[in-house]
Symmetry: C2
């Protein structure tokens, strides 16, 4: 299960099996989406499969995830999603009303994100060889001129900003899956980030990298950037926005919110001179209202992420091995 968790085991699978087998240069960039050139234009191109359980959860569904997840992967390249493809793998016997509800959620999420579902496919497998509904989406969008978002551009001095509360999606899924109650119902933060990214790029196209911290949480996203950029990252633990419901749930379950998945948040590495203006633009958008500076990039301890704790200590924030909770997306 760990190989699907977005952590160290996933990275091994890509590095040792997929990248050598496929051999392309674009795949080797290993971003949330690929930047490719076609007809002289720079396109972002990305895919994700969605196997979340349950199919419907507080704040969203597999249909919302399938749109927003892929739209966000394109947004992390600075691209507004233009077209989505959509592949259904249905398990024999799944209620047609469930398929219809998933399709309606997917269609509504696409309209909300301003992206068109242009092409699709359906396969059916025998009962016991699938799990209700699996979805895959791929997306394409134009990367605006002058925008070049990739971890290799990160340099010491960059300011690390998150767009809002972390850990919400993972805890929302966990609460329904495990039948846990944490006093308040926590709804997934699942959302499309294209408009927020546009608002940030309107301040300056010179953002260095964006990442949406999904599987493996903020910890995995920061570690991938530290490794790819060869820089060190220092996080102020107290500055990371964790809502009380998530903090309580994590305390009860022995989880670290830094490792819990998000589906409507991003982390941005911003040149210091633009940090205040970008933060202001984020806070003016409903999906960035709780944006916060959480740390900075340093020349010390290259490839390593460390957190300064509330008590003045320092701890290393490792890349997780797998995902704490399987099938959250």
């Amino acid at each position: 299960m760990g190989h699907g968790g977005g952590g160290a085991l996933s990275a091994e699978l890509v590095e040792h099996i997929f990248a050598p087998a496929f051999g392309g240069e674009t795949l080797a960039q290993l971003g949330d989406s690929a930047a490719v050139t076609l007809a002289g234009a720079r396109l972002a191109f990305s895919t994700d499969s969605y196997v979340v359980r349950p199919l419907f959860f507080p704040g969203g569904s597999i249909g919302d995830l399938a749109v927003n997840g892929t739209v966000n992967d394109l947004a992390m390249r600075g691209a507004r999603a233009a077209y989505l493809s959509c592949g259904f793998i249905l398990e024999e016997g799944v209620e047609m009303s469930v398929v219809a509800r998933v399709a309606e959620a997917l269609g509504a999420a696409a309209r909300a994100a301003g992206v068109e579902v242009a092409t699709g496919d359906t396969k059916v497998v025998e009962s016991g060889h699938g799990d209700g509904v699996f979805l895959n989406t791929a997306g394409i969008g134009l990367i605006p001129p002058g925008v070049d978002l990739r971890p290799q551009r990160v340099v010491p001095g960059d300011v690390v900003v998150v767009s809002g509360d972390i850990g919400v999606h993972g805890v929302a899924i966990m609460s329904v899956r495990e039948g846990l109650e944490f006093g308040v119902e926590i709804e997934s933060d699942c959302a499309a980030l294209g408009e927020l990214v546009d608002a940030m790029l309107a301040v300056t196209p010179d953002l260095h990298v964006l990442r949406d911290p999904t599987r493996g949480g903020l910890a995995a996203a920061l570690n991938e950037i530290a490794t790819a950029s060869g820089t060190g990252i220092v996080i102020q633990e107290r500055a990371v926005p964790v809502p009380p419901g998530v903090a309580n749930a994590c305390a009860i379950l022995g989880l670290d919110p830094m490792y819990v998945a998000n589906e409507g948040k991003l982390v941005a590495f911003v040149p210091r001179e633009h940090a205040d203006a970008v933060l202001g633009a984020m806070r003016s958008h409903r999906l960035g209202a709780n944006a916060a500076v959480i740390g900075e990039v340093v020349a010390d301890h290259p490839t390593m992420v460390v957190a300064r704790t509330g008590l003045g200590g320092t701890r290393v924030v490792d890349l997780p091995i797998g995902e704490q909770l399987p099938r959250i997306c």
Copy 2:
């Protein structure tokens, strides 16, 4: 199971559930791939999921299918595939060596087809909730200027050409799945058709429509075109190239080769004045060596496909309800 078979039940699912839910104009075109406009360029965009059993079969594997299937969907718009995405859904416990073999087959097929695997994703589901390896690929490619392949362009007088022997892929899968022996081993015809299509378009960009007759076979492809164009199609049954091994296997199993899936064949609707030249170009390519004219488009019996039998009779070739053999691709 029938809803995944590419026949009437699949069409119902798309018409009554997916198209209304997604609501886009592009999806409503319902071709093998969508034609979309981005940055002023016309792109073909397509996706398919692959759930074939077994993963490896005579003449190919799920990795070959995942490349060639999507490359061919783009080729049916006249586009050479430029980039592919690739999503793996792995079942917990699948041997890593199997995943590696699939990835290597996929990489080799991509290199053979001249397409780059640019982006990917892996999910893992618990044992008993998947079936070894499911794959999804999506692809993008440029549609050359002047090329406009769609069933609405088909008119009475058009000549119907197939690129070679039909029914081979389906029988190859059936022979290994059911443990049947038909005297000779039949290998899948799985192949990428981009180069063959380029050779045809070099004769004239004015082909009317191309279709690769996969699930539901030649019968489903012809019925889709008859319905979308509002024309009638007449096939000369004796002109349809069916190799003896396929004919024997179908006779034993009570199947009609017209309904058996192909993975390296196409059917073309060609203006009569270009038919000889296009047929010549096809026969000059190794994947079209056995190309044949099998029929023509008529003004009679609109939306209906009929076959003239060897005995001088006529039979209606219906749209199949589902697929005779599930999980062939």
